[in-house]
Symmetry: D2
Subunit: 284 residues, 4 copies
């Protein structure tokens, strides 16, 4: 469930992800194209980095559908950043629609969002929590599977403190091991339902976004990446090539407008964006 | 825009309109079948009569989408009445999503709801208000065209106090004259956009529901009526014939389940339900 | 934190607890008299039993302050029951204001609410959860200490299935053992902050309400009980004696109006109301 | 009713008005000192100018009480501007708590807020509206007296287009004439209830803030002005003298911390802040 979008590049307005392009994230909140169910109306959230004021990202969340939230429409054109995240939610059955359950989730200088679900989460939850460090356990404030996935990622991140000067490598290890941990648990508990783990994880300078589905299931939830500059003309959005220093990275559940310039991320791969905005797509 | 449903008959639970049948009003909030746009997620409202406690109907409204409102899901199975109304809203562009703008609207012992729009409402609003009595003017608390339509209906109702002992006839006159007033204004102001006026008006014992569109436009918004008892079996709902004393009247934008037993109301007609639950469909 | 009120007796309207008396629960939401901090504006909830329609109580909750919630004002006069609960919340620092965190909490046919706090909850939470049965663990949907207290009470209730035909005795054991469990944990973990456990627990026919504070701390949060009939005259409310068959039991954090007829519950006692509405106040 | 604060000066964070000082606007939302009723919990709003991105100010409003709104707490420390407005609302009886009724109100590049009430607004409303231009009439989206006051101010502003190059003088005329218009109407309609018109009006560079009450009533709602720099130390806030180029203007219903440095605005005067941040306090 859910749709998300993320941006790293020269500062742009939040509205360029959220309202302006033809398949903006608000458009995906009521008419997503690459899901059987087009509706993602159970709240939304946006996050952005303002490094000159605070290391931790700013975040704004609401349980209103994104399409009718006056505050989002007001904030989007005056919020500008080099690193932006946006998420529209379709709540999994049984998980509450509350502000605290909306993505992105923030932990210190990190922001995280999830599109998908942990197979059999209700059955796995207790064991999953038992395996967490106290810090990761205590940081869980809501009831989503997503926030529990973040807790596992956080613990794996902490486990690799030796890689402090290679954050992208550290993050990849954390993400890979978190997915493996979750899968192992699912198998041990004989859960048949697959996990869908499109996970986006950033420190505001680098980003990792996975596209994962449990083995034997097809396809993973959709995920795309584009490099260049976003041009919005007569309502449609296109990502076009541009000089390297102006070039940005867009990662989104669906192309934000024309598909030209967007590449599908292969299943069970992770997109790694470094601080210089170089992009690598590697197998998980 | 919008979808609504209304019930007059032996007491039933609100859930029988709102959650149980296969095309319940909650289903219509995210997947309406007879509108180009299937989504009615900009709030909802329900009203019901509890005559032993109060003449005025009870009302519960929220700006949450109906499908994810925990309170609605909790109230529906324990709310029981002989007269129920329910409405899911798709806000007209420019009209605020606020609790006060959700239907049904209550005036004394009357409840009212609207599916449609007044053509060129923004241009007509000021003149429309000038023509109102002080009482009807002052009663308008929100910003919808619908509440303005109700104000015109209320004034026309008051104008026919001589018919106090024939309320159904009085209501029909009020509705007919209100529609005529609104149409005359639209024509005078040279508004080309048509009005869609599916209006439901009840005192808890009788009901009038119109299906109207301005001349030259096709079709009016959908409207159906069914008589009998609602049976919900394996998720689908059917209205089936039953003994007269148990027979109820259902009026809804769309059949609540199987189409069997539901009749389309002809365009520019009004369904009139009397206190004995006899039903007449007459031209406007 | 918080204030609550509960009623068992001949059916009355919810408004008789919530809006009508001079110190109604809505009044206590902005001007509580027996707390240092008069404000309980972080959401509210009401629950009531409709046994002819459902065994589980109906519940309506909102994160709006009780004093400005139009739905509460609309529902209160048309909601009538022999067993009513109402709660206004002052969120403990760090605990989210969300609908799911509002009281009363419902588990099957039981309703539960809490006024107070578990000392050092943040530090105790993980161990507290480890001690729960899977059923009680899985039923926790929010993040409050209160819902964790309910989980302990539920487990202790289940442990005394042998007392199935003596529910009031069973409930007293459950409440007493739950408080003892929580206190033992607090002492083991060397938490100095005391627990305040004014707990209300009902099945719609019987009720148990405790007034507890950890040893060495004074005083417990306020709690009162009154027997008779509520009379609201010129804005003030009084509970007056009446014939036994019409006599009701009111239990509330503060008298709902005049103090006459209300008795303070002694500290570390529990008020037990049986199905015949006889009342006993016994030491914990 | 209500409390507000406004800032013009070197860019500061919104949190410096809203959360940091000891009598911040959030503090005033639950514990205002200079009103008989300390509670302003019926929603809030903030506005700020980001001239490099848009002429119109950004605005964020919510019906949650300011003290428990997670979004406000998240936005305040990362929102920085040279011109900030913040308002906490205590709804007048009968006026809906809705997002659209929260202040500040934005019209083009102007922001406006009101602390007070129009005496007898319900009786005056219709005549007041009749006197408005179509543009001012159509811009009213909510139901508050405040938005109607803004409509009168807007019309008077438009009437003085000849003063386009002297905006502060133009604004003063507009404000003075608007107050006179409202007072004349009140007198004509024989309304005895006084009007309280503490009005704040800004284009992001200049500001006018009135302190007015109808003749014969005492006192007007409180209003203060301070010049200098805000220093927050150990929880308290003080405005201290500083070099002219760093000096800011604070105008607020109550001093944001220590009273030192704050001057009460005399009754029936207006504070005029020019683009160079020079301040004049003149009689209305």
């Amino acid at each position: 469930m859910c749709r998300f979008a993320m941006y790293l590049g020269p500062p742009i307005r939040l509205s360029q992800l959220v309202t302006e392009p033809s398949n903006s994230l608000i458009h995906q909140s009521y008419d997503a194209k690459e899901r059987a169910e087009p509706l993602n109306g159970d709240g939304f959230g946006v996050a952005w980095y303002v490094p000159e004021l605070r290391e931790a990202p700013a975040v704004f969340k609401s349980i209103s559908p994104a399409w009718n939230d006056a505050n989002l429409l007001n904030l989007a054109p005056v919020t500008r950043s080099h690193c932006l995240l946006a998420h529209v939610r379709a709540a999994s059955p049984g998980l509450a629609v509350s502000q605290g359950n909306c993505h992105p989730f923030v932990r210190g200088r990190f922001a995280f969002m999830h599109n998908g679900s942990v197979g059999g989460f209700g059955e796995l939850r207790r064991r999953l929590r038992q395996g967490l460090s106290d810090a990761a356990y205590d940081a869980i404030a809501g009831s989503t599977d997503s926030e529990h996935v973040l807790a596992v990622v956080s613990d794996r991140w902490e486990a690799h403190a030796a890689l402090a000067d290679r954050p992208l490598e550290r993050g990849q290890k954390a993400l890979r091991e978190a997915i493996a941990t979750l899968e192992a648990l699912r198998v041990e508990e004989k859960v048949e339902a697959p996990s869908y783990l499109n996970l986006a994880f950033t420190d505001g300078e680098r980003a990792l976004v996975s596209r994962f589905v449990s083995p034997g299931t097809e396809p993973a939830h959709s995920l795309y990446v584009a490099r260049g500059a976003l041009v919005v003309e007569s309502g449609a959005g296109r990502v076009v090539p541009c000089p390297a220093e102006e070039s940005a990275v867009f990662i989104a559940s669906e192309p934000l407008g024309d598909r030209e310039g967007w590449e599908a991320v292969p299943q069970n791969h992770v997109v790694a964006v470094d601080a210089d905005r170089s992009v690598q797509t590697v197998a998980l």
